[in-house]
């Protein structure tokens, strides 16, 4: 999409979105519970969470399709909470695409411009440019039911940005596409976002999609934002067990505090104390281990004080092509997930279940989170 830099549609400026104390209930269920979020101008923010977490409710509140019980939504300083959707001037791509079946591709894209009483010549030009941008230049005269899923997605996108909104909302726009097309569209959407520079709020339940596309990710669960940060911070330093579990693969191991406050895993010191930036929920502390950070230890790492070591027994070993996955029983009661690259030296000796194995993990690769039980 970005190969057409010269006649790209220009968005004059993007708008920041400020959400404050937003609450929305359905019966006694909190769909949104006192949500605060600051979305910067031009940012690509992803709302990520399981189904029913409130992420779509938040998006719909920003679009104006539901009325929150309390709180505030500001676009660049202007309160929007009472503004009806058709006056909010935000573009939106719907999960079902919501293309008008009685209009052609070009008519769909022209619709927002016609409503704005843009003159016919300019409409023609802008529709052509928008379709060009989403690589559908040839298909303007097609009916919607003649398009493939991927093409519909692009039309929906063109319709959402053709009127130069300063905010673009997307509700799981890629969920209906097959895996290959989805991955291709992720890159294209990312490029389009860079090209348009528009503030983008993107809803998905696919963590890989969120990691691929976002400037920042807001993890939502039970109507609350659990953590909001850049993809690498979210992945490397999850702030609680929900995030650690939801993003990527992980094993969460319980820690024990000794008399001096040191945190131990099976008598191995992990940390001098709980991390300072974390809230102690009174349920103890736990260790997050990412499967791909674990390695098979040898002489060079044994005795290194920056390495935590686990002695265990192989329970399961599966070859998966680009990597191999193993389940290791550690200290007789914990199951540790481990992933090996299939081209690495560590993979040379394929494992059998029942094998004894020594594993290591750099202290810099561990994250301590509040415990769960």
């Amino acid at each position: 999409m970005a190969n057409n830099v010269n006649n790209e549609p220009q968005i004059e400026s993007a708008l920041p979105i400020t959400v404050k104390n937003l609450t929305k209930t359905y019966g006694d269920m909190y769909a949104l519970n006192n949500v605060d979020v600051d979305i910067k101008s031009g940012e690509f923010l992803t709302l990520l969470g399981p189904s029913g977490s409130g992420k779509t409710t938040l998006l719909m509140a920003i679009a104006g399709f539901n009325r929150p019980d309390s709180g505030s939504i500001k676009f660049g300083g202007n309160e929007m909470i009472l503004t009806p959707p058709h006056k909010r001037d935000v573009g939106m791509v719907f999960q079902s695409y919501a293309l008008f079946p009685h209009m052609t591709v070009a008519e769909n894209v022209a619709f927002p411009l016609k409503l704005r009483k843009v003159n016919a010549a300019e409409i023609k030009e802008r529709v052509a440019t928008a379709l060009e941008t989403v690589q559908l230049g040839e298909l303007g005269n097609r009916d919607i039911d003649q398009l493939s899923g991927g093409q519909r997605q692009r039309v929906a996108l063109a319709r959402a940005f053709v009127f130069k909104p300063r905010i673009l909302l997307m509700d799981e726009p890629l969920s209906a596409l097959d895996k290959k097309l989805r991955e291709q569209m992720q890159i294209e959407l990312k490029q389009l976002h860079r090209q348009l520079g528009v503030t983008t709020v993107y809803v998905t339940h696919d963590q890989r999609e969120a990691l691929t596309m976002s400037d920042r990710i807001a993890i939502i669960n039970g109507g609350e934002i659990v953590q909001i940060d850049t993809p690498d911070v979210i992945y490397n330093s999850p702030s609680n067990s929900f995030v650690a579990d939801f993003i990527g693969e992980s094993t969460i191991l319980p820690l024990r505090a000794d008399a001096s406050g040191k945190l131990l895993f099976e008598n191995q010191p992990i940390s001098d104390g709980p991390p300072e930036n974390m809230h102690d929920n009174g349920k103890g502390w736990a260790l997050v281990v990412r499967p791909e950070r674990v390695f098979i230890s040898d002489e060079s790492t044994s005795g290194d004080e920056n390495v935590v070591s686990f002695d265990g027994i192989v329970k399961e070993f599966v070859f998966q092509g680009d990597s191999a996955f193993a389940l290791i029983t550690v200290a007789e009661k914990h199951e540790l997930s481990v992933r090996f690259g299939t081209n690495s030296a560590s993979f040379q000796n394929a494992l059998q279940s029942g094998d004894k194995i020594s594993l290591g993990l750099n202290l810099s690769d561990i994250t301590i989170i509040p415990g769960d039980e």
Partner: protein
């Protein structure tokens, strides 16, 4: 192989539809003396009374259809917007009269609308009007009764097409800047037209051949083709003339269907998508 199962149905269609209609055609060309004649059709062209009967038939059908659209469209829109459980209740209200006898409903209207009927008495009691209004045994009564009976035939296909409209489409229209009324006229209404046309056509065509309601509520003043056929048979026992009327009604009904299918391209609305 599966075609074999359709053979009984095809035979029934031939036996109860094609043969009687063929017989009807044949009779319409037979005079009282048993000889072949065109006189029944000639009379229809020559006599003004026949023209008036056809005019009345089309007039009643058209007005009934218009009344049904004016009442039925908002009703279907309302039903389509309700949550399924509540919609079910209101749907029952639409369908309940549909399941009761046509004759009963027609006579019920007679009771309600007649000179000393409930409506006139009530209106005069609360002072809406002083002398009883003539609400029955005329065109007014016929149209009220017909519209009531025909309404479900319009609402059902219309509701079907409205329910198929994705709610996200209205959201999408609002999102790109359409006010609620603009979104209705540019998105919802165009997408509901196929159901509206299908329903209107069913109502119109059913009205063309309707008998009971105009006979009872028209009180002899609203003479439609069907009532005229009965009159000819009862008074003159003239099978030829009655058959000729039937044939002309049948042909004009088919003509209406054919022309509207050309105008509205509704074949996919009535007969499924091409």
């Amino acid at each position: 192989m599966l075609l074999g199962f359709s053979i009984p149905a095809i035979l029934v269609v031939i036996a109860i539809i094609l043969i009687p209609i063929g017989w009807l055609f044949y009779l319409s060309f037979i005079g009282n003396d048993g000889q072949f004649t065109m006189e029944h059709y000639q009379k229809m062209v020559e006599y003004k009374s026949y023209k008036r009967v056809f005019f009345t038939t089309f007039q009643v059908s058209l007005f009934t259809t218009i009344i049904c659209i004016l009442i039925g469209y908002p009703l279907a829109y309302f039903l389509a917007s309700l949550p399924p459980r509540v919609a079910g209740f209101f749907m029952l209200a639409v369908l309940l009269p549909f399941w009761t006898s046509l004759l009963v409903r027609t006579y019920a209207w007679l009771v309600l609308l007649q000179k000393k009927g409930i409506l006139n008495e009530f209106a005069m009691n609360i002072g809406l009007w002083d002398t009883p209004l003539k609400l029955v045994h005329n065109m007014t009564g016929t149209l009220i009764g017909m519209a009531h009976i025909m309404l479900p035939f319009l609402v059902l296909p219309l509701l079907g097409s409205m329910k198929k409209i994705d709610k996200d489409l209205m959201h999408a229209a609002a999102n790109v800047g359409a006010s609620p009324s603009k979104a209705f006229w540019t998105v919802f209404f165009p997408l509901s037209i196929s159901g509206l046309v299908a329903g209107s056509l069913i109502v119109f065509v059913l009205c063309l051949g309707f008998y009971v309601t105009p006979a009872v509520l028209g009180g002899g003043r609203v003479v439609m083709v069907s009532t005229q056929i009965t009159a000819i048979l009862e008074n003159q026992f003239n099978w030829g003339a009655a058959s000729a009327l039937g044939v002309v009604l049948l042909i004009s009904t088919l003509l209406v269907l054919y022309i509207s299918s050309k105008i509205f391209k509704f074949d996919n609305a009535l007969f499924g998508k091409k």
